[in-house]
């Protein structure tokens, strides 16, 4: 059995609960992400999504378990894993251009200054930032523009894995839509592997190849891996017409609304916790089981 590109193995995170005991965020979580895949993880606030992402980024150490990427165990942060933080995390004393170029210079120390700037401008242009704007400080940009800078900074470094923590959480719906399209476009051109946290179901369906569903914590589990059986390229107005769209959406709503609570709070007793694969495809009813029996199977 070959390992996936990114393999999360028996990941456990506990924190002191403040009363002398420990609180288990998740236990023995095990799942994989294939190369070039776009995976979204959905779950209620506080279930441990950011904790998982920080571990994948190498910014935090799990209590136990390992993360293996491309055959190498993750220990500490690396330029191979780019991160887009929820609050953008731009350096406020640097201009927009410098915020991108300092990262590019770190990635390519052998490049000349002109090459670094050229490359940075190119990636800023990809997210629609050109002209005078790139000399402004982050405080002079709108929230949407800041997040674009953050995305450009991450993509400009060609990380093998791109991690995004609720990148559009603070943006209005219109801006969010435009940046989602830009993200899809750059991802499509680059073929990078993306792991993204979101709490927006429609966003997840639009962007992801696969959605991981997390139950509520403590003892949260990555309970299901839902394949998004809608062909690409996708566009937000067209996908709602697809026969699978509402079936998938209903499944996700059901999970987040009801089953994420029902499945919560179960200790693993040491067993590896892998997500159940769920494939909902109404276009090919002959070969595939209908979603209903499949869902019941997951519940057992």
């Amino acid at each position: 059995m070959t390992k996936p590109f990114l393999s999360i193995e028996n990941l456990t995170q506990t924190y002191p609960d403040g009363q002398g005991g420990t609180m288990t965020v998740f236990e023995n979580a095990t799942f994989g992400v294939e190369k070039g895949e776009f995976v979204c993880i959905l779950g209620h606030s506080g279930c441990g999504k950011s904790t998982i992402m920080n571990i994948l980024a190498g910014l935090a150490e799990p209590t136990s378990g390992v993360v293996v990427m491309d055959g190498r165990e993750v220990s500490g942060p690396s330029l191979d894993r780019g991160v887009v933080f929820q609050n953008y995390s731009l350096l406020p004393w640097l201009s927009t251009l410098k915020n991108v170029s300092f990262g590019v210079a770190a990635r390519h120390p052998e490049w000349s200054k002109a090459e670094v700037l050229e490359h940075s401008r190119k990636y800023l242009a990809m997210v629609g930032l050109e002209g005078d704007v790139i000399h402004r400080k982050p405080s002079q940009l709108s929230g949407g523009m800041r997040q674009r800078v953050s995305i450009a900074r991450a993509f400009a470094n060609h990380p093998k894995l791109l991690l995004l923590d609720e990148p559009f959480g603070a943006l209005d719906a219109l801006t969010r839509g435009t940046i989602q399209d830009e993200l899809l476009k750059i991802w499509g051109d680059s073929g990078q592997t993306v792991f993204m946290i979101t709490h927006d179901i429609d966003e997840a369906i639009l962007l992801a190849d696969r959605i991981l569903l997390m139950t509520n914590g403590p003892f949260a589990r990555v309970a299901e891996s839902v394949e998004i059986t809608i062909p690409r390229p996708r566009n937000r107005t067209a996908i709602v017409e697809h026969p699978n769209y509402y079936a998938i959406r209903n499944h996700l709503v059901q999970f987040l609304g009801k089953r994420s609570k029902e499945l919560a709070g179960q200790a693993s007793d040491g067993a590896t916790q892998s997500p159940e694969t769920v494939r909902i495809d109404l276009t090919d009813a002959a070969d595939e089981p209908t979603p209903e029996p499949r869902l019941r199977a997951v519940n057992t």
Binding site: L59, L79, V83, S89, W93, L94, K137, S139
Partner: protein
């Protein structure tokens, strides 16, 4: 006056207050009679010698004009131009201050980065900081055996604390997100310190530096009164011994003006390193 801006109105009011204040001061000083108008008796009882009273502002202005038109003359140990005296004071302040910065900023970095260093050094800082800088003077004079160096040491010891504490505070308070940005870009320790932590903490550090220079300028006057020889503090004390109150008032004003300029320099440095989040 709708045509005047807020600043213009404030300036106008300042000028009015200054003029009214000076006129009131001038009017409050009884005029001294010229020697020719004195009676025999008055002359014999010393009335011809100008009385050591508070001088009127007109005299202070005349004195200022005279001193400032030739600030760098040097006519012996007790008679030097105001420019030379201020120059000595600034030299001492800057020497002590720069030495303090060289020690305080790196040490503050260390304390800010390392909780262990913070805990270990905190008790020393807490005890040493509240000591009046002048209390060090006898010890400094005894150990260093040089009044010039002792004055500089006193400046060093009083400027170190605000810089040390603010640097530590600023460095410890750098947002974890920014540090994480450095980490995910694999910046080394030194690179992180200079490209992320220093600019992030710079506003707090410069605030500490500004407080320090203010304290140093307060302390140098007192220190020079003690060690004597040269400097604006010595000048004030010397003129007081000469009962030349005009010069005393003039030098007090000069201390204020120089202090203001030092502060303004740091205020512009503060603006240069400020950033909006």
């Amino acid at each position: 006056m709708p045509s005047l801006s807020l600043n213009q109105r404030a300036l106008l009011l300042s000028v009015v207050m200054l003029v009214v204040g000076l006129l009131a001061w001038e009017a409050a000083i009884p005029a001294q009679k010229a020697v020719g108008e004195l009676t025999e008796y008055e002359r014999l009882t010393g009335g011809g010698v100008p009385k050591a009273g508070v001088p009127p502002p007109s005299q202070v202005i005349a004195k200022a004009w005279q001193e400032l038109s030739n600030p760098f003359y040097d006519a012996g140990p007790n008679d030097k131009g105001i420019g030379i005296q201020i120059g000595y004071s600034i030299y001492r302040v800057l020497s002590g201050y720069l030495m303090a910065a060289v020690v305080a900023i790196p040490l503050g970095f260390l304390i800010g980065m390392s909780p262990v260093a913070y805990k270990a050094l905190n008790p020393f800082i807490q005890v040493l900081r509240p000591i009046s800088p002048l209390a060090w003077m006898p010890l400094a004079l005894f150990i260093i055996q040089d009044s010039e160096a002792s004055a500089i040491f006193v400046i060093f010891i009083c400027s170190i604390w605000p810089m040390l504490i603010n640097t530590a505070f600023g460095v410890a308070g750098v947002r974890q997100d920014w540090v994480n940005v450095a980490r995910t870009h694999e910046l080394g320790h030194l690179k992180t310190a200079f490209t992320v932590i220093l600019p992030a903490a710079a506003p707090t550090i410069v605030t500490g530096m500004r407080i320090s220079i203010g304290i140093a300028w307060l302390v140098i006057v007192a220190a020079e009164m003690l060690v004597g020889g040269t400097g604006i503090g010595y000048y004030v004390w010397n003129e007081w011994n000469n009962l030349d109150l005009t010069s005393v008032i003039f030098s007090i004003l000069m201390i204020g003006v120089v202090g203001m300029m030092l502060d303004a320099a740091f205020a512009s440095l503060q603006r240069a390193v400020a950033y909006a989040e």
